[in-house]
């Protein structure tokens, strides 16, 4: 093993395509000209974790124990910190933290830090997300106390229907356009910037499609993972 790097543990499979996309973005933002420059990861890719959207509405099994088990397995595999490229699953962050003694890097906290960098006081930030993630209130809580106006989606079922199509393998132009239209609606209602608070969205959308800053939570987490894995930053307290 190379010295001077840290093993990243990835709780994956929520969804599977989003996990692979996250790994691709880790690669893309690593300064590398050969295999050995890239970061080490151990990935527990378990798409069979109970549905998180359903769970937020009290339906189906609690995914918390399964997610926490994966976190503990990653620590057992030698991971030095843990990331999870799924926003909604952070509703079970307490279960994860209770199961491990290494740092867990929250995609929500990191994305909010990025919002702080990109937005100035008084600006309106559009929360572009799924019903479950909205109901969980993760971003609403993380942004409370910031001098920003939060613009929340005026509808949620449409985004869910499109995410379900992506999860079924449909990343076609109509799906991308449909999601883009929902995001643009937040802009037309005054958002100066958008947080893409679902790692499925960025399977079909990219920042260049928008006239305002589009903060991809997947990219934010990928960049943080590389910085920590390459020891460019100290590990946070757990």
């Amino acid at each position: 093993m190379a010295t001077g790097d840290r093993l990243a543990g990835v709780i994956g499979g929520m969804g599977p395509d989003a996990t692979i996309d996250f790994m691709s973005r880790v690669l893309a933002c690593t300064p590398a000209t050969r295999d050995q420059d890239h970061v080490r990861m151990v990935v527990e890719h378990d798409p069979r974790i109970p549905n998180r959207q359903f769970a937020m509405y009290g339906e189906g099994a609690d995914p918390g124990p399964a997610i926490a088990t994966l976190a503990a397995r990653l620590e057992g595999a030698g991971a030095e910190f843990i990331v999870m490229p799924c926003n909604l699953a952070h509703a079970w962050e307490d279960d994860i933290r209770a199961a491990i003694s290494i740092p867990f890097i929250s995609i929500v906290s990191e994305s909010v830090k990025r919002v702080e960098q990109r937005c100035t006081a008084g600006e309106t930030i559009g929360l572009f997300t799924t019903p479950g993630c909205f109901k969980a209130g993760l971003y609403q809580e993380a942004l409370a106390g910031h001098e920003l106006v939060l613009q929340t989606p005026d509808e949620l079922s449409e985004s869910m229907a499109l995410v379900e199509r992506i999860k079924a393998g449909d990343k076609s132009e109509p799906v991308a356009s449909g999601l883009r239209a929902l995001a643009v609606r937040l802009v037309s209602r005054g958002a100066h910037a958008l947080i893409a608070a679902c790692t499925e969205f960025t399977l079909v959308l990219e920042p260049s499609m928008f006239a305002v800053p589009f903060i991809s939570s997947t990219d934010v987490l990928a960049e943080k993972t590389v910085a920590l894995a390459l020891c460019q930053e100290p590990l946070p307290e757990r």
Copy 2:
């Protein structure tokens, strides 16, 4: 955990992009309409394993121990079988098998089975590969005794130069065209079919680019992984 499925262990990072491509192909060939239909994988993604091409020419560290360690870790993580989406790394298959007590599914053996299905006796199969994999003789050995004529590359340094560009992140049209030209040379020399015996090649090439059957070792291994993970096939003896 769902019953009726098996956890696949993936020795990854050789190279990192090829591992992610393999995972994408696993997803693509899984019959799924929702996350929970997909297969569980645990992936040890270690791009820092010593260079396999160099090792085949006696330069640098032996990658065998590092690869075997990953295999053992995957078994420890509960993997029920192990795959490795890198052809050349199969030169260290004995090290892997010595380190585990679960089945190891060889990309070489599986690709040769596919050749058997696609080719008839007397046909010429073009071995499209890298210098290290050619020198290791993996496919030459696996195809010995088959009634096929093996067409080997007339040059190897060009393919290596192109693979190095891919590993440095260059998947541009010139790289794809360059590799395609090398493959076509095998066809012009009489190959009735091609084995793409390098998981980097299929990052820029696809079967539709060729007039003859183009057997992607990455796809073959992905399909086998899904069949075993979904219990569509019995596990082989180890």
